[in-house]
């Protein structure tokens, strides 16, 4: 290990060393280190391999813009891939390795690609691999592509979502952001200050500064503490604002517990997604330095100048011993000073400008540093890491200079990502050679470096004002804050000069793109993949479009930028989904008597959002046997079925009958009080959307019954018509489905069971006939009973308040035991209705089925309007060859024909004439029964059809009226 850790300074805790491994080798760092700073301090120079050419790469940056050092941290289910080493906080026992290389970053077999690099220019794959076929090549390409190898084990950690509202959300806790948050919190505003780093301060953590008489980092610490202490303020560190959406909604990703790759230490979630609605937003996200584009600019040891300074000041890690600085602007001179201040040597400062401000060069010359003006670097040397550079001076002479670090600066890009996401347009600032925010599209203001303002005093003042600060802002020493730049977008020399380090896009690739007419910035991005890597082009985009502008002779402003997309930095799926997993993602509804069904041994399945008993298999009984047994119990004795999910909607008011006549395809207004009627609802396109039995409780009160799946939908549908179309009607709609539990007794012994349970009214067939309704008490429980039947057997549909469901269930089971009562699940219930030929909406119909298709044409109101009425007379709906609802019986065997089987007349060569919609084995008849939709089916009773798809293929069926008949042709009706 080389001694690159400086003897003092830095925001690391030298009393708390940490052991970690990188690529299997042990290293040591300190609390406060990132993986990147610890590796740099340990003298590790090659930290990864590039995506395409597998070139060795070292650290480029110190922050989120890092493009090279992508690592996998941890193993097993907690492994995380593609993390930037600059964002990984070091912890004891951390294990990390570089992604996309084998066996290691230092010796990578994939580096063979680099030899063939010339064959792999941008977009080479569009021009090749067509012969003999792409499929021969694709698997190889797929294996070569991709970065990290994720775990396929379930993620063991938890995530959560929080919602927050605030007056002011400040993104970034550098000087500008702190000033804004400080000002607003002093005014008593609800402030949220968001900082992606573990520490507040931003550039104050490493740039020398004095504010209000303190060092910058001290001031930052105190300011953040003051803000955090304010009653309505919240300071969130380790939190990245990742998205700026409509109406000042922002998404923040907070890394709460558990360092990368390690288990969470406590009960806390690993990450938290904040969904924040802010009255105002201050964007103070700073700026990112641009690399320079010159041959060999990706050699390990070539770093952003600001990163060199930051590593030294913040982590006491010197990037190298012998440095060269290459810049086109003033800001990199600070890096030279930082290197000198920390005991390094600076062999030369290469400034591409012929005449940079004299005070800059003078300050270095005074320290004995050679400055070469109007010069550039045309090559770098060293394997695998930098040992020297070739400088081409203003006269065109090349000089080779030894160096193990090259600090480069191509200027700065304000971090405008969130501003752009907010809908704001960027403007090109030619003087500073950068894109900065133009007019705001939302209640937002950018300040400081994020707005293209690099002076410390100005940044603080802008922030202060944006936070509503009155009086004088915190006072910064304002020495020499202006810097100038002379753009140098690419050094004109031969060799691979990288623009996008992560995706291995070179300046030559951009030239190729231009040559081939991919000149739009979006085409450039897509053709070369520039800016599409995991760093989203943070260091590459502006360089690339400027080079494209040069190549095509257009102003940079005309070339423009690509759109900035959320998230600002990658966000885990876990955090985005939050706690919404399993039933919290989409809750399942449970029946009021759920526990009783569990006790009865129910096997549950989801039906339309409800967890319902499919059947109640006894010990050793198959699902099929249970269904058969349950259905037979209904035919021969009595069954008990939980129909609670069936929709129930109170429709009340003077115009209730008129309203329902407008809604239903059949007439409801003639229904007498205490009677029940089946009804069909259509949508305006004439398709059947729901059916059910409606009862009239009073002249102005109906209880509308819907399908289970339609309960919420139909209540909303009724409301929509009332509120939007017929507000003049005096009607109130109240969905009451979940207020009631519905237990249905069905079978020849149903009446006996009800009697035995105790009912306070006469229930004989004449006293209480089919399709009527009564309120009464059953076993002492206030109840409503409807005489409707979905099974063909005598049925009593008993509704009680939902919280008395269990009580009723127990009473009915007790009363029913002597009569052979069996709990009946949905599947048996379906068999029973299939035997009867009763339609089940959603199974026998789809979203295009009309009333006539299911044999209800004659029941419709002829003369008056109702929803969907007009659509029924459109030509297509009057065709005679539409699919119609029929029964089918197997001719060749007793085995049921599978649902979904298509049918065709044996005489026809191709096509489908319909399909089976419901099917099962009739326990009564011992053979398959089925329902189907068949073209012109009602005119084809008796006709034989072939099953032409599925497992029943080749079998023969006969078209019948829906529902099976007894041996004498009589209905099975009880």
């Amino acid at each position: 290990m080389s001694g690159r850790r400086l003897p003092g300074g830095g925001r690391i805790d030298r009393n708390r060393p940490l052991n970690f491994t990188f690529e299997g080798r042990p290293y040591r760092g300190y609390v406060g280190d990132t993986l990147a700073s610890a590796l740099l301090a340990a003298g590790v120079r090659v930290v990864g391999r590039s995506f395409k050419y597998h070139r060795p790469r070292g650290l480029l940056a110190a922050g989120v813009e890092e493009a090279n050092a992508l690592v996998q941290v941890g193993e097993g289910a907690r492994a995380e891939v593609n993390l930037r080493a600059t964002e990984v906080e070091l912890h004891e026992g951390l294990t990390a390795r570089a992604v996309n290389c084998w066996p290691s970053a230092r010796f990578d077999v994939g580096a063979v690609n680099n030899l063939f690099g010339r064959l792999l220019p941008a977009g080479f794959y569009y021009k090749t691999f067509m012969w003999p076929d792409w499929r021969w090549f694709e698997p190889v390409i797929r294996r070569a592509a991709g970065l990290g190898r994720p775990s396929i084990l379930p993620d063991p950690d938890r995530y959560e979502t929080r919602h927050a509202h605030c007056d002011l959300l400040v993104v970034g806790s550098g000087p500008a952001g702190l000033a804004a948050a400080l000002a607003a919190s002093r005014r008593g505003e609800r402030v949220m200050l968001v900082e992606q780093d573990p520490l507040p301060g931003g550039s104050l953590l490493w740039r020398p500064a004095q504010i209000d008489g303190r060092s910058g980092s001290d001031w930052a610490e105190r300011a953040a503490a003051e803000i955090a202490a304010a009653p309505d303020a919240l300071v969130l560190t380790r939190t990245t604002a990742i998205g700026y959406f409509d109406h000042n909604a922002l998404a923040l990703l907070e890394r709460v517990a558990g360092a990368a790759g390690s288990p969470g230490p406590d009960h806390r979630p690993r990450q938290r997604l904040w969904s924040v609605r802010a009255r105002r937003v201050v964007l103070a996200a700073g700026a990112l330095e641009r690399p320079l584009v010159f041959p060999g600019n990706d050699r390990p040891g070539v770093m952003l100048a600001s990163a060199v300074s930051e590593y030294a000041a913040r982590w006491a890690a010197r990037a190298g011993d012998e440095a060269v600085v290459f810049t086109n602007n003033d800001s990199a001179y600070a890096a030279a000073h930082a290197l000198l201040d920390t005991g390094g040597r600076v062999a030369a400062v290469v400034d591409s400008r012929p005449a940079p401000p004299a005070r800059r060069t003078a300050s270095l010359q005074a320290r004995g540093v050679r400055t070469l003006l109007g010069a550039s670097i045309v090559a770098t040397h060293g394997r695998p890491a930098l040992t020297g550079v070739t400088i081409r001076d203003a006269e065109g002479h090349d000089h080779r200079v030894a160096a193990d670090v090259l600090a480069m600066s191509g200027g700065w890009n304000p971090t405008v990502h969130l501003f752009s996401q907010s809908g704001g347009a960027l403007v090109w600032d030619g003087e500073q050679a950068l894109f900065r925010p133009g007019r705001s599209a939302q209640a937002e203001v950018s300040v400081g470096a994020a707005a293209g303002e690099f002076g410390l005093s100005t940044a603080i003042e802008q922030g202060w004002r944006a936070g509503g600060g009155e009086g004088a802002p915190p006072l910064a020493d304002a020495a020499d804050e202006r810097w100038t730049i002379g753009p140098l977008w690419r050094v004109p020399a031969r060799g691979k000069a990288f623009v996008d380090f992560q995706n291995d896009v070179t300046a030559d690739d951009i030239a190729l793109s231009a040559r081939e007419n991919f000149v739009s910035v979006e085409h450039l991005k897509r053709y070369t993949t520039l800016g599409m890597a995991a760093d989203q082009g943070k260091t590459s985009n502006v360089n690339a479009l400027a080079i494209m502008a040069e190549l095509t002779g257009r102003p940079i402003a005309d070339v423009g930028t690509t759109r900035f997309r959320p998230p600002f930095t990658p966000a885990t799926f876990g955090a985005i989904g939050g706690r919404a997993r399993g039933e919290l993602f989409q809750p399942l509804r449970r029946l009021p008597a759920h526990d009783r069904h569990v006790q009865a041994g129910a096997a549950f399945e989801e039906y339309g959002g409800w967890l319902r008993p499919a059947h109640y298999p006894g010990a050793g009984e198959s699902a099929h046997a249970a269904e058969q047994r349950e259905a037979l119990a209904v035919r021969r004795a009595v069954g008990l079925f939980d129909g609670s999910p069936l929709g129930k909607i109170d429709v009340v008011g003077a115009d209730a009958a008129e309203f329902l006549d407008r809604i239903y395809a059949n007439t409801l207004s003639t229904l007498k009080v205490g009677r029940a009627r089946y009804g069909l609802m259509l949508n305006e396109q004439g398709a059947v959307i729901d059916d059910g039995v409606t009862v009239r409780l009073a002249a102005d009160h109906f209880l509308v019954g819907t399908t289970g799946g339609g309960a919420d939908r139909i209540a909303a549908w009724l409301e929509e018509w009332l509120q939007c179309e017929w507000p003049d009607l005096d009607v109130l709609v109240a969905p009451v489905t979940t207020a009631w539990a519905v237990l249905t007794l069905s079978g020849p012994k149903a009446r006996d069971v009800l009697d035995a349970a105790g009912v306070d009214m006469a229930i004989g067939e004449e006293d209480f006939p089919h399709m009527t309704f009564r309120e009464c008490r059953v076993a002492g429980v206030p109840a409503r009973i409807s005489r409707v039947s979905f099974t063909g057997e005598v049925s009593f549909e008993v509704s009680v308040a939902a919280d008395r469901a269990c009580e009723l269930w127990d009473r009915l089971r007790l009363a029913g035991a002597p009569f052979g009562l069996a709990p009946v699940g949905i599947e048996a219930w379906m068999l029973l209705r299939m035997e009867m030929g009763y339609l089940h909406l959603g199974a026998d119909t789809d979203g295009a089925t009309t009333p006539d298709d299911i044999g209800w044409g004659r029941v419709l109101k002829r003369r008056r309007d109702f929803v969907g009425r007009r659509s029924l007379t459109r030509p297509e709906l009057l065709r005679k060859d539409r699919l119609q609802f029929v029964g089918v019986e197997a001719v060749d065997s007793t085995v049921p024909v599978p649902v979904g089987s298509h049918l065709r007349s044996p005489g026809l060569p191709s096509g489908s004439e319909g399909y089976v919609t419901s099917s099962g084995l009739s326990p009564t008849l011992g053979r398959g029964v089925a329902l189907a939709m068949v073209r012109a089916g009602r005119s084809r009773y008796g006709e034989e059809l072939l099953v032409i798809t599925g497992e029943g293929r080749g079998r023969r069926v006969r078209v019948t009226v829906p529902g099976v008949r007894g041996p004498g042709g009589e209905p099975l009706d009880g």
């Binding site: 379930p154 993602f585 789809d846």
Partner: protein, 417 residues
């Protein structure tokens, strides 16, 4: 223009790749074309290509407001399949898949059509019945579609939680082996290059601002930001903006524009080969050749022309996948974006004549237009060149909304893309 091949690439490599020429020409517009296609997306460019190739019409221009493929062609999740329920749809989309199968060689441009298979998951007994009917229908229409077992699904998509206790248990699925993905940009560029080679003028940054009509009301040209261009016939292929152009021409469409959100993860080494769609959550996912998981899952719920990300949609779609594929919890989302799609009441395209003479349309593909690009182009070209609808396009005319002869895939299969 040179032919692309490995040999050519090799030769160019020796020459520093200086010999490559523009993939397509960018001429100034002529004053008159036999046909002007509005919209430089996949459908528009394919239309121009097939006009030249199938019908010998080469005096053709494609005018594009922005950059080629910048609309939904470059924003979609690249799924190609043809296992549709209705005969009309299945024939149309399968025609398209067949064209895709030979497209790279035909265009001499690798569009990377990869028939990795598409699996639609059934999550309940009812789903399974729907899927069985659907599979049968597709088979009858000559499309490969088969039911696959849970075991097979588990084998192909190990990331998927197939346990019975999953919130969305997997009961089985429908698989089209010939389905897959293609490289979206390459489809636009490949057609552009091939069309340009045949003489078609491709004019970017040219916004249509109006239509010129003769005294009978027939469209005889377009007014553009680059000046008027006379046209024998005009084709419209501007998904997302169909009604905006229809307004300019003076008619209305049963189309509403919605934002479709799409997502991509960071690049990963291969973790899934097959394309997967879930009937329960509506989420769909595949892994691109670059390694990113490409994800979609339904529309924002209100009309929009803003191509912007939205958080609730991300939470719904990404949350669904984090639940259905529990290992994805630690995988990271790289980018979210949106495209503006034409939503039609029956989820089927509108192809053919408009109420305005001389103006023909290709629109209404909803979220699934990418897979139909070769077919959409062929059919519109046929109509423009012959004046008659292609037989495959006939059922998809505007007239169906008045007669009620809708081709409603969502109603039949529960899936609208």
């Amino acid at each position: 223009m040179e032919r692309y091949s490995a040999w050519r690439l090799f030769r160019e490599a020796l020459n520093g790749h200086r010999g490559w020429t523009p993939a397509w020409r960018s001429p100034s517009p002529k004053r008159r074309y036999d046909a002007v296609i509005i919209g430089g997306g996949g459908h528009g460019l394919a239309t121009a290509y097939y006009l030249a190739k199938n019908h010998g019409m080469t005096n053709v221009a494609v005018v594009e407001r922005g950059w080629l493929g910048g609309g939904n062609t470059g924003r979609n999740t690249t799924i190609v399949r043809s296992n549709y329920y209705h005969r009309e749809s299945a024939r149309l989309y399968d025609f398209s898949v067949r064209l895709y199968e030979s497209l790279s060689r035909e265009l001499n441009y690798n569009v990377m059509f990869s028939q990795r298979g598409v699996i639609t998951l059934a999550h309940s007994r009812h789903d399974l019945e729907v899927v069985a009917r659907w599979a049968g229908a597709a088979q009858l229409h000559g499309v490969d579609a088969e039911m696959v077992s849970v075991d097979e699904i588990k084998r192909r998509i190990p990331l998927l939680d197939t346990s019975p206790s999953a919130r969305f248990p997997v009961w089985g699925g429908l698989m089209q082996r010939r389905g897959g993905t293609a490289r979206h940009d390459a489809v636009a560029w490949g057609y552009a290059r091939a069309a340009s080679r045949l003489g078609v003028d491709i004019i970017q940054n040219c916004e249509v601002t109006g239509f010129s009509r003769n005294e009978r009301g027939r469209v005889v040209g377009v007014e553009t930001s680059l000046g008027p261009i006379a046209a024998g016939v005009v084709g419209l292929a501007v998904a997302g903006h169909s009604t905006v152009l229809a307004d300019l021409a003076g008619f209305r469409l049963p189309v509403t524009s919605y934002a479709l959100q799409a997502f991509v993860s960071e690049p990963l080494k291969p973790v899934m080969d097959t394309v997967m769609l879930s009937l329960a959550t509506g989420a769909y996912i595949s892994q691109s050749d670059k390694g990113g998981l490409v994800i979609g899952g339904g529309l924002d719920l209100y009309p929009s022309y803003a191509q912007r990300g939205n958080l609730p949609t991300a939470q719904r779609v990404i949350g669904a996948l984090a639940d259905q594929m529990p290992a994805l919890g630690r995988v990271r989302l790289l980018r979210q974006w949106a495209g503006i799609v034409d939503v039609v009441p029956d989820s089927s395209p509108i192809l053919g004549e408009t109420p305005v003479e001389g103006l023909f349309i290709n629109c209404g593909w909803g979220t699934g237009g990418f897979k139909a690009i070769p077919a959409g182009g062929t059919l519109l070209a046929h109509h423009l060149a012959t004046g008659e609808p292609h037989p495959l396009a006939e059922p998809f005319g505007l007239r169906r909304f008045a007669t009620g002869a809708l081709i409603d895939e969502a109603a039949a299969s529960g899936i609208a893309h």
